[in-house]
Symmetry: C2
Subunit: 312 residues, 2 copies
Protein backbone atom coordinates (compact mmCIF):
# COMPACT_ATOMS: atom_id res chain seq x y z
CA UNK A 1 0.00 0.00 0.00
CA UNK A 2 1.54 3.25 -1.12
CA UNK A 3 1.32 6.66 0.40
CA UNK A 4 0.51 9.49 -2.02
CA UNK A 5 3.49 9.38 -4.40
CA UNK A 6 5.11 12.46 -5.88
CA UNK A 7 4.54 13.22 -9.56
CA UNK A 8 8.16 14.07 -10.20
CA UNK A 9 9.82 11.56 -12.50
CA UNK A 10 13.60 11.51 -12.89
CA UNK A 11 14.83 13.17 -16.07
CA UNK A 12 16.05 10.69 -18.68
CA UNK A 13 19.85 10.47 -18.68
CA UNK A 14 19.84 8.05 -21.57
CA UNK A 15 21.63 8.79 -24.78
CA UNK A 16 18.95 9.59 -27.38
CA UNK A 17 18.24 6.52 -29.50
CA UNK A 18 20.19 6.53 -32.74
CA UNK A 19 22.35 9.58 -31.89
CA UNK A 20 25.66 7.71 -32.21
CA UNK A 21 24.50 6.13 -35.46
CA UNK A 22 23.40 9.44 -36.95
CA UNK A 23 26.70 11.11 -36.10
CA UNK A 24 28.54 8.15 -37.64
CA UNK A 25 26.46 8.24 -40.83
CA UNK A 26 26.36 12.00 -41.34
CA UNK A 27 29.74 13.08 -40.06
CA UNK A 28 31.81 9.91 -40.46
CA UNK A 29 32.89 10.04 -36.80
CA UNK A 30 32.30 7.23 -34.33
CA UNK A 31 31.11 8.68 -31.01
CA UNK A 32 30.84 6.46 -27.97
CA UNK A 33 29.22 7.33 -24.64
CA UNK A 34 30.47 6.62 -21.13
CA UNK A 35 29.20 6.91 -17.60
CA UNK A 36 31.06 9.35 -15.41
CA UNK A 37 32.98 6.42 -13.89
CA UNK A 38 34.39 5.64 -17.36
CA UNK A 39 32.34 2.52 -18.15
CA UNK A 40 30.88 2.44 -21.67
CA UNK A 41 27.13 2.89 -22.21
CA UNK A 42 25.88 0.32 -24.70
CA UNK A 43 23.86 1.72 -27.59
CA UNK A 44 20.17 1.00 -27.20
CA UNK A 45 19.51 -2.38 -28.84
CA UNK A 46 17.05 -2.96 -31.65
CA UNK A 47 18.29 -0.18 -33.90
CA UNK A 48 19.20 -2.48 -36.76
CA UNK A 49 22.87 -1.90 -36.01
CA UNK A 50 25.50 -4.52 -35.61
CA UNK A 51 26.46 -4.39 -31.93
CA UNK A 52 29.77 -2.71 -31.21
CA UNK A 53 30.52 -5.26 -28.53
CA UNK A 54 33.73 -6.33 -30.25
CA UNK A 55 35.42 -2.95 -30.20
CA UNK A 56 36.49 -2.20 -26.66
CA UNK A 57 37.61 1.40 -26.11
CA UNK A 58 41.34 2.01 -26.47
CA UNK A 59 43.48 2.76 -23.44
CA UNK A 60 43.78 6.38 -24.54
CA UNK A 61 40.00 6.75 -24.75
CA UNK A 62 39.48 5.17 -21.34
CA UNK A 63 42.09 7.44 -19.79
CA UNK A 64 40.79 10.61 -21.48
CA UNK A 65 37.17 9.85 -20.51
CA UNK A 66 38.16 9.43 -16.84
CA UNK A 67 40.21 12.62 -16.90
CA UNK A 68 37.45 14.57 -18.64
CA UNK A 69 34.83 13.29 -16.20
CA UNK A 70 37.00 13.98 -13.13
CA UNK A 71 37.98 17.49 -14.17
CA UNK A 72 34.66 18.22 -15.92
CA UNK A 73 36.71 19.58 -18.82
CA UNK A 74 37.23 18.60 -22.45
CA UNK A 75 40.36 16.50 -23.14
CA UNK A 76 42.23 16.06 -26.43
CA UNK A 77 45.15 13.74 -27.20
CA UNK A 78 46.99 14.14 -30.51
CA UNK A 79 49.00 11.18 -31.78
CA UNK A 80 50.71 11.05 -35.18
CA UNK A 81 47.89 8.98 -36.73
CA UNK A 82 44.90 9.63 -34.51
CA UNK A 83 43.17 12.43 -32.63
CA UNK A 84 41.26 11.43 -29.51
CA UNK A 85 38.78 13.68 -27.73
CA UNK A 86 36.65 13.18 -24.62
CA UNK A 87 33.89 15.57 -23.53
CA UNK A 88 31.99 15.60 -20.26
CA UNK A 89 28.30 16.33 -20.92
CA UNK A 90 26.16 18.26 -18.47
CA UNK A 91 22.41 18.59 -18.63
CA UNK A 92 20.80 21.52 -16.79
CA UNK A 93 24.13 22.19 -15.07
CA UNK A 94 24.61 18.63 -13.79
CA UNK A 95 27.46 16.47 -15.18
CA UNK A 96 25.72 13.37 -16.51
CA UNK A 97 27.95 11.38 -18.85
CA UNK A 98 30.89 11.65 -21.21
CA UNK A 99 31.36 11.15 -24.94
CA UNK A 100 34.56 10.28 -26.77
CA UNK A 101 35.76 9.98 -30.36
CA UNK A 102 38.89 8.75 -32.13
CA UNK A 103 39.60 10.30 -35.51
CA UNK A 104 42.21 8.63 -37.73
CA UNK A 105 44.53 11.08 -39.52
CA UNK A 106 46.31 10.50 -42.81
CA UNK A 107 49.01 13.04 -41.95
CA UNK A 108 50.16 15.67 -39.46
CA UNK A 109 48.93 18.38 -41.83
CA UNK A 110 45.36 17.37 -41.15
CA UNK A 111 45.65 18.25 -37.44
CA UNK A 112 44.29 21.82 -37.48
CA UNK A 113 41.13 21.03 -39.46
CA UNK A 114 40.67 17.71 -37.65
CA UNK A 115 40.71 19.50 -34.30
CA UNK A 116 38.03 21.89 -35.51
CA UNK A 117 36.03 18.95 -36.86
CA UNK A 118 36.15 17.26 -33.44
CA UNK A 119 35.19 20.48 -31.69
CA UNK A 120 32.19 20.80 -34.03
CA UNK A 121 31.20 17.18 -33.41
CA UNK A 122 31.44 17.82 -29.66
CA UNK A 123 29.21 20.87 -29.96
CA UNK A 124 26.72 18.88 -32.04
CA UNK A 125 26.66 15.97 -29.57
CA UNK A 126 26.13 18.29 -26.62
CA UNK A 127 23.36 20.19 -28.38
CA UNK A 128 21.61 16.96 -29.39
CA UNK A 129 21.76 15.71 -25.80
CA UNK A 130 20.43 19.03 -24.52
CA UNK A 131 17.64 19.01 -27.09
CA UNK A 132 16.59 15.47 -26.13
CA UNK A 133 16.61 16.51 -22.47
CA UNK A 134 14.47 19.56 -23.21
CA UNK A 135 12.04 17.47 -25.29
CA UNK A 136 11.65 14.96 -22.48
CA UNK A 137 11.02 17.83 -20.04
CA UNK A 138 8.43 19.17 -22.49
CA UNK A 139 6.70 15.82 -22.56
CA UNK A 140 6.51 15.61 -18.76
CA UNK A 141 5.18 19.16 -18.59
CA UNK A 142 2.62 18.55 -21.32
CA UNK A 143 1.40 15.47 -19.49
CA UNK A 144 1.16 17.32 -16.18
CA UNK A 145 -0.69 20.12 -17.95
CA UNK A 146 -3.23 17.80 -19.51
CA UNK A 147 -3.77 16.17 -16.11
CA UNK A 148 -4.34 19.50 -14.46
CA UNK A 149 -6.77 20.53 -17.21
CA UNK A 150 -8.66 17.32 -16.49
CA UNK A 151 -8.79 18.21 -12.82
CA UNK A 152 -10.00 21.75 -13.55
CA UNK A 153 -12.63 20.43 -15.93
CA UNK A 154 -13.83 17.90 -13.36
CA UNK A 155 -13.96 20.53 -10.61
CA UNK A 156 -15.96 22.79 -12.92
CA UNK A 157 -18.35 20.05 -13.98
CA UNK A 158 -18.95 18.91 -10.42
CA UNK A 159 -19.21 22.54 -9.28
CA UNK A 160 -22.06 23.16 -11.70
CA UNK A 161 -24.29 20.47 -10.19
CA UNK A 162 -23.90 21.19 -6.47
CA UNK A 163 -27.37 22.71 -6.14
CA UNK A 164 -28.55 21.93 -2.65
CA UNK A 165 -31.98 20.74 -3.79
CA UNK A 166 -30.39 17.87 -5.71
CA UNK A 167 -30.50 14.45 -4.02
CA UNK A 168 -27.12 13.33 -2.62
CA UNK A 169 -27.05 10.03 -4.50
CA UNK A 170 -27.80 11.78 -7.80
CA UNK A 171 -24.75 13.99 -7.27
CA UNK A 172 -22.58 11.03 -6.26
CA UNK A 173 -23.65 9.06 -9.33
CA UNK A 174 -22.61 12.01 -11.46
CA UNK A 175 -19.26 12.27 -9.65
CA UNK A 176 -18.62 8.53 -10.20
CA UNK A 177 -19.37 8.80 -13.93
CA UNK A 178 -17.04 11.78 -14.24
CA UNK A 179 -14.30 10.02 -12.27
CA UNK A 180 -14.52 6.82 -14.26
CA UNK A 181 -14.37 8.71 -17.55
CA UNK A 182 -11.53 10.96 -16.47
CA UNK A 183 -9.34 8.29 -14.89
CA UNK A 184 -10.17 5.49 -17.32
CA UNK A 185 -10.86 3.14 -14.39
CA UNK A 186 -13.10 0.11 -14.92
CA UNK A 187 -15.33 1.16 -12.02
CA UNK A 188 -15.83 4.12 -9.70
CA UNK A 189 -17.78 3.92 -6.46
CA UNK A 190 -19.18 6.34 -3.91
CA UNK A 191 -20.16 4.87 -0.56
CA UNK A 192 -21.96 6.50 2.35
CA UNK A 193 -22.13 4.41 5.53
CA UNK A 194 -25.37 4.01 7.48
CA UNK A 195 -26.26 7.11 9.50
CA UNK A 196 -29.14 8.08 11.79
CA UNK A 197 -30.78 4.74 11.26
CA UNK A 198 -30.68 5.16 7.45
CA UNK A 199 -29.31 2.41 5.22
CA UNK A 200 -25.79 2.67 3.76
CA UNK A 201 -25.91 4.07 0.22
CA UNK A 202 -23.81 3.34 -2.83
CA UNK A 203 -23.38 4.82 -6.31
CA UNK A 204 -21.50 2.67 -8.83
CA UNK A 205 -20.33 3.52 -12.32
CA UNK A 206 -18.84 0.76 -14.48
CA UNK A 207 -18.24 -2.90 -13.65
CA UNK A 208 -17.00 -3.71 -10.15
CA UNK A 209 -14.32 -6.40 -9.77
CA UNK A 210 -15.92 -7.58 -6.49
CA UNK A 211 -19.39 -8.00 -5.02
CA UNK A 212 -21.09 -4.72 -4.25
CA UNK A 213 -22.14 -6.17 -0.91
CA UNK A 214 -18.45 -6.67 0.00
CA UNK A 215 -17.61 -2.98 -0.45
CA UNK A 216 -18.47 -1.87 3.13
CA UNK A 217 -16.23 -4.58 4.56
CA UNK A 218 -13.41 -3.76 2.11
CA UNK A 219 -13.51 -0.02 2.85
CA UNK A 220 -13.82 -0.69 6.59
CA UNK A 221 -10.71 -2.89 6.53
CA UNK A 222 -8.70 -0.40 4.43
CA UNK A 223 -9.60 2.81 6.22
CA UNK A 224 -9.79 1.56 9.79
CA UNK A 225 -8.07 4.11 12.03
CA UNK A 226 -6.99 6.46 9.22
CA UNK A 227 -7.63 10.21 9.24
CA UNK A 228 -10.44 10.88 6.73
CA UNK A 229 -8.89 14.25 5.84
CA UNK A 230 -6.23 14.03 3.17
CA UNK A 231 -5.71 10.25 3.26
CA UNK A 232 -5.37 8.52 -0.11
CA UNK A 233 -4.69 4.81 -0.56
CA UNK A 234 -3.26 3.49 -3.82
CA UNK A 235 -2.58 -0.17 -4.51
CA UNK A 236 -1.57 -1.37 -7.96
CA UNK A 237 -0.87 -4.97 -6.87
CA UNK A 238 -3.95 -6.00 -4.92
CA UNK A 239 -3.37 -9.71 -5.50
CA UNK A 240 -0.08 -9.48 -3.60
CA UNK A 241 -1.97 -8.37 -0.49
CA UNK A 242 -3.63 -11.42 1.16
CA UNK A 243 -6.35 -9.24 2.74
CA UNK A 244 -7.32 -7.72 -0.62
CA UNK A 245 -6.88 -10.89 -2.66
CA UNK A 246 -9.45 -12.61 -0.43
CA UNK A 247 -12.15 -10.19 -1.61
CA UNK A 248 -11.79 -11.01 -5.32
CA UNK A 249 -9.25 -12.47 -7.71
CA UNK A 250 -10.36 -9.86 -10.27
CA UNK A 251 -9.31 -6.89 -8.15
CA UNK A 252 -5.95 -5.66 -9.47
CA UNK A 253 -5.73 -1.96 -8.69
CA UNK A 254 -7.56 0.49 -6.51
CA UNK A 255 -7.53 4.06 -5.26
CA UNK A 256 -9.54 4.65 -2.08
CA UNK A 257 -10.23 8.10 -0.64
CA UNK A 258 -12.27 8.75 2.51
CA UNK A 259 -14.91 11.49 2.35
CA UNK A 260 -14.94 13.36 5.66
CA UNK A 261 -18.53 13.92 6.83
CA UNK A 262 -18.16 15.83 10.10
CA UNK A 263 -19.46 13.79 13.02
CA UNK A 264 -20.76 10.99 10.79
CA UNK A 265 -18.56 8.03 9.87
CA UNK A 266 -16.61 8.97 6.72
CA UNK A 267 -17.80 7.95 3.28
CA UNK A 268 -15.56 6.67 0.48
CA UNK A 269 -14.80 7.50 -3.13
CA UNK A 270 -12.91 4.73 -4.93
CA UNK A 271 -11.73 3.68 -8.37
CA UNK A 272 -11.00 0.07 -9.36
CA UNK A 273 -8.77 -1.50 -12.00
CA UNK A 274 -7.34 0.06 -15.11
CA UNK A 275 -5.72 -1.76 -17.98
CA UNK A 276 -2.39 -0.28 -18.91
CA UNK A 277 -1.07 2.40 -16.61
CA UNK A 278 -0.93 2.04 -12.84
CA UNK A 279 -2.95 4.42 -10.68
CA UNK A 280 -0.80 7.26 -9.46
CA UNK A 281 -0.71 10.73 -8.04
CA UNK A 282 -2.85 12.42 -10.75
CA UNK A 283 -5.66 9.91 -10.14
CA UNK A 284 -5.35 10.35 -6.40
CA UNK A 285 -5.60 14.14 -6.77
CA UNK A 286 -8.69 13.92 -8.97
CA UNK A 287 -10.45 11.61 -6.52
CA UNK A 288 -9.34 13.69 -3.53
CA UNK A 289 -10.72 16.83 -5.24
CA UNK A 290 -14.02 15.13 -5.97
CA UNK A 291 -14.19 13.83 -2.39
CA UNK A 292 -13.73 17.35 -1.01
CA UNK A 293 -16.41 18.82 -3.28
CA UNK A 294 -18.75 15.95 -2.45
CA UNK A 295 -18.17 16.36 1.29
CA UNK A 296 -19.14 20.04 1.18
CA UNK A 297 -22.19 19.21 -0.90
CA UNK A 298 -23.31 16.38 1.41
CA UNK A 299 -22.98 18.64 4.43
CA UNK A 300 -24.97 21.41 2.69
CA UNK A 301 -27.59 18.93 1.63
CA UNK A 302 -27.82 17.60 5.23
CA UNK A 303 -28.32 21.10 6.63
CA UNK A 304 -30.98 21.81 4.02
CA UNK A 305 -32.78 18.50 4.64
CA UNK A 306 -32.74 19.06 8.38
CA UNK A 307 -34.51 22.38 7.87
CA UNK A 308 -37.00 20.68 5.57
CA UNK A 309 -37.62 17.99 8.19
CA UNK A 310 -38.26 20.63 10.82
CA UNK A 311 -40.89 22.19 8.56
CA UNK A 312 -42.93 18.97 8.51
CA UNK B 1 -12.67 46.06 -24.96
CA UNK B 2 -11.36 42.59 -25.71
CA UNK B 3 -13.18 39.31 -25.99
CA UNK B 4 -11.63 36.39 -24.09
CA UNK B 5 -8.23 36.02 -25.79
CA UNK B 6 -6.61 32.66 -26.49
CA UNK B 7 -3.60 31.65 -24.41
CA UNK B 8 -1.62 30.32 -27.36
CA UNK B 9 1.47 32.40 -28.09
CA UNK B 10 3.45 31.90 -31.29
CA UNK B 11 6.67 29.88 -30.90
CA UNK B 12 9.84 31.95 -31.09
CA UNK B 13 11.49 31.69 -34.49
CA UNK B 14 14.40 33.86 -33.43
CA UNK B 15 17.95 32.67 -33.61
CA UNK B 16 19.07 32.01 -30.03
CA UNK B 17 21.02 34.97 -28.69
CA UNK B 18 24.75 34.50 -29.03
CA UNK B 19 24.55 31.30 -31.12
CA UNK B 20 26.48 32.72 -34.08
CA UNK B 21 29.08 34.19 -31.74
CA UNK B 22 29.57 30.92 -29.87
CA UNK B 23 30.01 28.95 -33.08
CA UNK B 24 32.52 31.55 -34.30
CA UNK B 25 34.48 31.49 -31.05
CA UNK B 26 34.47 27.73 -30.46
CA UNK B 27 34.63 26.37 -33.97
CA UNK B 28 36.24 29.24 -35.90
CA UNK B 29 33.40 29.25 -38.44
CA UNK B 30 31.23 32.28 -39.18
CA UNK B 31 27.59 31.22 -39.44
CA UNK B 32 24.99 33.67 -40.67
CA UNK B 33 21.21 33.24 -40.58
CA UNK B 34 18.67 34.07 -43.27
CA UNK B 35 14.92 34.17 -43.65
CA UNK B 36 13.46 31.70 -46.09
CA UNK B 37 13.24 34.50 -48.69
CA UNK B 38 17.03 34.84 -48.51
CA UNK B 39 17.25 38.12 -46.55
CA UNK B 40 19.80 38.11 -43.73
CA UNK B 41 18.65 38.04 -40.08
CA UNK B 42 20.66 40.55 -38.04
CA UNK B 43 22.23 39.18 -34.89
CA UNK B 44 20.42 40.32 -31.78
CA UNK B 45 21.98 43.62 -30.70
CA UNK B 46 23.57 44.28 -27.34
CA UNK B 47 25.77 41.20 -27.28
CA UNK B 48 28.98 43.16 -27.00
CA UNK B 49 29.85 42.18 -30.54
CA UNK B 50 30.93 44.49 -33.29
CA UNK B 51 28.02 44.59 -35.73
CA UNK B 52 28.56 42.59 -38.92
CA UNK B 53 26.74 45.24 -40.93
CA UNK B 54 29.76 45.81 -43.18
CA UNK B 55 30.04 42.26 -44.51
CA UNK B 56 27.23 41.67 -46.95
CA UNK B 57 26.76 38.02 -47.94
CA UNK B 58 28.60 36.95 -51.09
CA UNK B 59 26.69 36.18 -54.26
CA UNK B 60 27.39 32.48 -53.79
CA UNK B 61 25.94 32.54 -50.28
CA UNK B 62 22.82 34.42 -51.41
CA UNK B 63 22.28 31.97 -54.26
CA UNK B 64 22.87 28.87 -52.12
CA UNK B 65 20.56 30.12 -49.35
CA UNK B 66 17.74 30.68 -51.85
CA UNK B 67 18.30 27.27 -53.42
CA UNK B 68 18.46 25.55 -50.05
CA UNK B 69 15.30 27.28 -48.84
CA UNK B 70 13.38 26.59 -52.06
CA UNK B 71 14.35 22.91 -52.23
CA UNK B 72 14.43 22.46 -48.43
CA UNK B 73 17.75 20.66 -48.92
CA UNK B 74 21.35 21.31 -47.91
CA UNK B 75 23.50 22.97 -50.58
CA UNK B 76 27.31 22.97 -50.88
CA UNK B 77 29.52 24.87 -53.34
CA UNK B 78 33.23 24.02 -53.53
CA UNK B 79 35.56 26.62 -55.01
CA UNK B 80 39.37 26.32 -55.08
CA UNK B 81 39.78 28.57 -52.01
CA UNK B 82 36.47 28.44 -50.26
CA UNK B 83 33.72 26.00 -49.30
CA UNK B 84 30.21 27.44 -49.00
CA UNK B 85 27.30 25.62 -47.38
CA UNK B 86 23.66 26.58 -46.84
CA UNK B 87 21.25 24.62 -44.66
CA UNK B 88 17.49 25.05 -44.37
CA UNK B 89 16.45 24.71 -40.73
CA UNK B 90 13.12 23.23 -39.71
CA UNK B 91 11.63 23.33 -36.24
CA UNK B 92 8.98 20.76 -35.38
CA UNK B 93 8.71 19.80 -39.03
CA UNK B 94 8.21 23.38 -40.29
CA UNK B 95 10.91 25.08 -42.42
CA UNK B 96 11.73 28.26 -40.51
CA UNK B 97 15.00 29.80 -41.67
CA UNK B 98 18.35 29.03 -43.26
CA UNK B 99 21.93 29.20 -42.10
CA UNK B 100 25.03 29.55 -44.26
CA UNK B 101 28.82 29.46 -43.79
CA UNK B 102 31.86 30.16 -45.93
CA UNK B 103 35.03 28.31 -44.98
CA UNK B 104 38.32 29.51 -46.53
CA UNK B 105 40.67 26.68 -47.64
CA UNK B 106 44.44 26.82 -47.84
CA UNK B 107 44.52 24.06 -50.45
CA UNK B 108 42.47 21.50 -52.39
CA UNK B 109 43.76 18.78 -50.07
CA UNK B 110 41.73 20.22 -47.23
CA UNK B 111 38.44 19.61 -49.03
CA UNK B 112 37.50 16.21 -47.54
CA UNK B 113 38.02 17.22 -43.89
CA UNK B 114 36.59 20.69 -44.49
CA UNK B 115 33.39 19.16 -45.87
CA UNK B 116 33.06 17.03 -42.76
CA UNK B 117 33.75 20.07 -40.60
CA UNK B 118 30.92 21.98 -42.29
CA UNK B 119 28.58 19.01 -41.96
CA UNK B 120 29.38 18.88 -38.23
CA UNK B 121 28.80 22.62 -37.86
CA UNK B 122 25.47 22.24 -39.67
CA UNK B 123 24.45 19.46 -37.30
CA UNK B 124 25.50 21.56 -34.32
CA UNK B 125 23.57 24.64 -35.53
CA UNK B 126 20.43 22.61 -36.18
CA UNK B 127 20.63 20.93 -32.78
CA UNK B 128 21.18 24.26 -31.00
CA UNK B 129 18.16 25.75 -32.77
CA UNK B 130 16.06 22.69 -31.89
CA UNK B 131 17.19 22.88 -28.28
CA UNK B 132 16.30 26.57 -28.02
CA UNK B 133 12.90 25.81 -29.55
CA UNK B 134 12.30 22.98 -27.07
CA UNK B 135 13.37 25.19 -24.16
CA UNK B 136 10.99 27.94 -25.21
CA UNK B 137 8.21 25.35 -25.48
CA UNK B 138 9.15 24.14 -21.98
CA UNK B 139 8.87 27.67 -20.65
CA UNK B 140 5.40 28.18 -22.14
CA UNK B 141 4.26 24.84 -20.77
CA UNK B 142 5.68 25.56 -17.33
CA UNK B 143 3.88 28.88 -17.25
CA UNK B 144 0.59 27.31 -18.34
CA UNK B 145 1.08 24.63 -15.70
CA UNK B 146 1.68 27.09 -12.90
CA UNK B 147 -1.43 29.02 -13.98
CA UNK B 148 -3.53 25.89 -13.94
CA UNK B 149 -2.16 24.95 -10.51
CA UNK B 150 -3.26 28.38 -9.30
CA UNK B 151 -6.72 27.78 -10.69
CA UNK B 152 -6.94 24.35 -9.05
CA UNK B 153 -5.76 25.75 -5.76
CA UNK B 154 -8.31 28.58 -5.90
CA UNK B 155 -11.12 26.17 -6.80
CA UNK B 156 -10.10 23.97 -3.86
CA UNK B 157 -9.85 26.85 -1.43
CA UNK B 158 -13.19 28.28 -2.46
CA UNK B 159 -14.72 24.79 -2.50
CA UNK B 160 -13.79 24.29 1.16
CA UNK B 161 -15.82 27.30 2.36
CA UNK B 162 -19.08 26.79 0.47
CA UNK B 163 -21.00 25.64 3.57
CA UNK B 164 -24.57 26.78 3.09
CA UNK B 165 -24.87 28.20 6.61
CA UNK B 166 -22.17 30.75 5.83
CA UNK B 167 -23.37 34.27 5.01
CA UNK B 168 -23.09 35.14 1.31
CA UNK B 169 -21.02 38.27 1.85
CA UNK B 170 -18.54 36.35 4.02
CA UNK B 171 -17.97 33.91 1.17
CA UNK B 172 -17.65 36.72 -1.38
CA UNK B 173 -15.12 38.55 0.79
CA UNK B 174 -13.09 35.37 0.94
CA UNK B 175 -13.34 34.93 -2.85
CA UNK B 176 -12.16 38.53 -3.38
CA UNK B 177 -9.16 38.04 -1.09
CA UNK B 178 -8.21 34.85 -2.93
CA UNK B 179 -8.64 36.49 -6.33
CA UNK B 180 -6.61 39.53 -5.45
CA UNK B 181 -3.78 37.40 -4.08
CA UNK B 182 -3.79 34.98 -6.99
CA UNK B 183 -4.01 37.55 -9.79
CA UNK B 184 -1.87 40.22 -8.13
CA UNK B 185 -4.55 42.85 -8.88
CA UNK B 186 -4.70 46.02 -6.79
CA UNK B 187 -8.34 45.41 -5.95
CA UNK B 188 -10.98 42.68 -6.34
CA UNK B 189 -14.69 43.32 -5.96
CA UNK B 190 -17.85 41.22 -5.67
CA UNK B 191 -21.11 43.05 -6.30
CA UNK B 192 -24.66 41.80 -5.82
CA UNK B 193 -27.38 44.13 -7.12
CA UNK B 194 -30.44 44.97 -5.06
CA UNK B 195 -32.99 42.13 -4.94
CA UNK B 196 -36.38 41.64 -3.26
CA UNK B 197 -36.19 45.08 -1.74
CA UNK B 198 -32.77 44.35 -0.18
CA UNK B 199 -29.89 46.79 -0.61
CA UNK B 200 -27.13 46.07 -3.15
CA UNK B 201 -24.14 44.43 -1.46
CA UNK B 202 -20.43 44.74 -2.12
CA UNK B 203 -17.27 42.97 -0.96
CA UNK B 204 -13.98 44.75 -1.67
CA UNK B 205 -10.42 43.51 -1.19
CA UNK B 206 -7.55 45.95 -1.78
CA UNK B 207 -7.66 49.57 -2.84
CA UNK B 208 -10.19 50.54 -5.49
CA UNK B 209 -9.14 53.01 -8.23
CA UNK B 210 -12.63 54.57 -8.21
CA UNK B 211 -15.37 55.42 -5.72
CA UNK B 212 -17.12 52.37 -4.33
CA UNK B 213 -20.41 54.16 -4.89
CA UNK B 214 -19.65 54.38 -8.63
CA UNK B 215 -19.28 50.61 -9.01
CA UNK B 216 -22.98 49.85 -9.70
CA UNK B 217 -23.05 52.45 -12.49
CA UNK B 218 -19.75 51.17 -13.95
CA UNK B 219 -20.87 47.53 -13.98
CA UNK B 220 -24.28 48.50 -15.31
CA UNK B 221 -22.70 50.40 -18.22
CA UNK B 222 -20.24 47.59 -19.01
CA UNK B 223 -22.58 44.62 -18.79
CA UNK B 224 -25.76 46.13 -20.20
CA UNK B 225 -27.32 43.61 -22.58
CA UNK B 226 -24.57 40.96 -22.25
CA UNK B 227 -25.27 37.30 -21.49
CA UNK B 228 -24.22 36.70 -17.84
CA UNK B 229 -23.15 33.14 -18.69
CA UNK B 230 -19.60 32.91 -20.01
CA UNK B 231 -19.08 36.63 -20.69
CA UNK B 232 -15.71 38.07 -19.65
CA UNK B 233 -14.62 41.65 -20.26
CA UNK B 234 -10.94 42.59 -20.22
CA UNK B 235 -9.64 46.12 -20.74
CA UNK B 236 -5.98 46.96 -20.25
CA UNK B 237 -6.27 50.55 -21.53
CA UNK B 238 -9.20 52.00 -19.62
CA UNK B 239 -8.03 55.58 -20.10
CA UNK B 240 -8.39 55.22 -23.86
CA UNK B 241 -12.11 54.53 -23.41
CA UNK B 242 -13.95 57.83 -22.79
CA UNK B 243 -16.74 56.04 -20.89
CA UNK B 244 -14.30 54.35 -18.49
CA UNK B 245 -11.92 57.31 -18.19
CA UNK B 246 -14.81 59.41 -16.92
CA UNK B 247 -15.16 57.17 -13.83
CA UNK B 248 -11.57 57.67 -12.62
CA UNK B 249 -8.21 58.70 -13.96
CA UNK B 250 -6.63 56.02 -11.75
CA UNK B 251 -8.44 53.14 -13.45
CA UNK B 252 -5.98 51.51 -15.86
CA UNK B 253 -6.99 47.87 -16.21
CA UNK B 254 -10.00 45.77 -15.36
CA UNK B 255 -11.50 42.32 -15.73
CA UNK B 256 -15.26 42.15 -15.24
CA UNK B 257 -17.22 38.89 -15.06
CA UNK B 258 -20.99 38.67 -14.51
CA UNK B 259 -22.24 36.18 -11.91
CA UNK B 260 -25.44 34.57 -13.21
CA UNK B 261 -28.06 34.43 -10.44
CA UNK B 262 -31.06 32.76 -12.07
CA UNK B 263 -34.02 35.12 -12.24
CA UNK B 264 -32.25 37.85 -10.26
CA UNK B 265 -30.17 40.50 -12.00
CA UNK B 266 -26.61 39.16 -12.37
CA UNK B 267 -23.88 40.02 -9.88
CA UNK B 268 -20.30 40.91 -10.78
CA UNK B 269 -16.81 39.74 -9.89
CA UNK B 270 -14.12 42.17 -10.99
CA UNK B 271 -10.40 42.84 -10.63
CA UNK B 272 -8.82 46.29 -11.04
CA UNK B 273 -5.33 47.44 -12.04
CA UNK B 274 -2.09 45.51 -11.90
CA UNK B 275 1.37 46.95 -12.24
CA UNK B 276 3.45 45.11 -14.79
CA UNK B 277 1.64 42.49 -16.83
CA UNK B 278 -1.67 43.12 -18.58
CA UNK B 279 -4.72 41.11 -17.55
CA UNK B 280 -5.22 38.17 -19.86
CA UNK B 281 -6.84 34.82 -20.38
CA UNK B 282 -5.47 33.13 -17.19
CA UNK B 283 -6.92 35.94 -15.04
CA UNK B 284 -10.21 35.76 -16.89
CA UNK B 285 -10.38 32.00 -16.31
CA UNK B 286 -9.69 32.34 -12.60
CA UNK B 287 -12.38 34.97 -12.17
CA UNK B 288 -14.84 33.04 -14.34
CA UNK B 289 -14.22 29.91 -12.19
CA UNK B 290 -14.76 31.86 -9.00
CA UNK B 291 -17.91 33.42 -10.44
CA UNK B 292 -19.35 30.00 -11.27
CA UNK B 293 -18.60 28.62 -7.80
CA UNK B 294 -20.01 31.75 -6.19
CA UNK B 295 -23.18 31.56 -8.28
CA UNK B 296 -23.88 27.97 -7.15
CA UNK B 297 -23.19 28.95 -3.55
CA UNK B 298 -25.43 32.03 -3.67
CA UNK B 299 -28.27 29.97 -5.14
CA UNK B 300 -27.83 27.29 -2.44
CA UNK B 301 -27.72 29.94 0.23
CA UNK B 302 -30.92 31.53 -1.16
CA UNK B 303 -32.75 28.18 -1.11
CA UNK B 304 -31.57 27.60 2.45
CA UNK B 305 -32.55 31.08 3.59
CA UNK B 306 -35.98 30.78 2.01
CA UNK B 307 -36.59 27.62 4.01
CA UNK B 308 -35.39 29.39 7.15
CA UNK B 309 -37.75 32.31 6.44
CA UNK B 310 -40.64 29.92 6.07
CA UNK B 311 -39.87 28.49 9.51
CA UNK B 312 -40.32 31.86 11.18
Amino acid sequence: MLAFPTTCSPAATDVPEGLAREIREHLGVAVAFYRLDGTPIAEAPGQGDAPDAGTAPSETVTRLVREAADANEDRLAAGPHVLTAAWPISLRGQPRLAAAVELPLSGEGEQPLARRLLAAVGTAVRACMAEADARSQCNSLAEALSQSFEEISLLHNVGEVLRVTRPVMGLLEYVCEELRETTGAEAAVAYLPAADGAEPEMAVSGRLPLLESDLPRLFGALLDGLDPHGTVLINNHCQQDPLLARFSIAMERLVVVPVALGERAPGVLAAFNRSGEEFGSPDAKLIRSSANASAVFIENRRLYSELQQMML
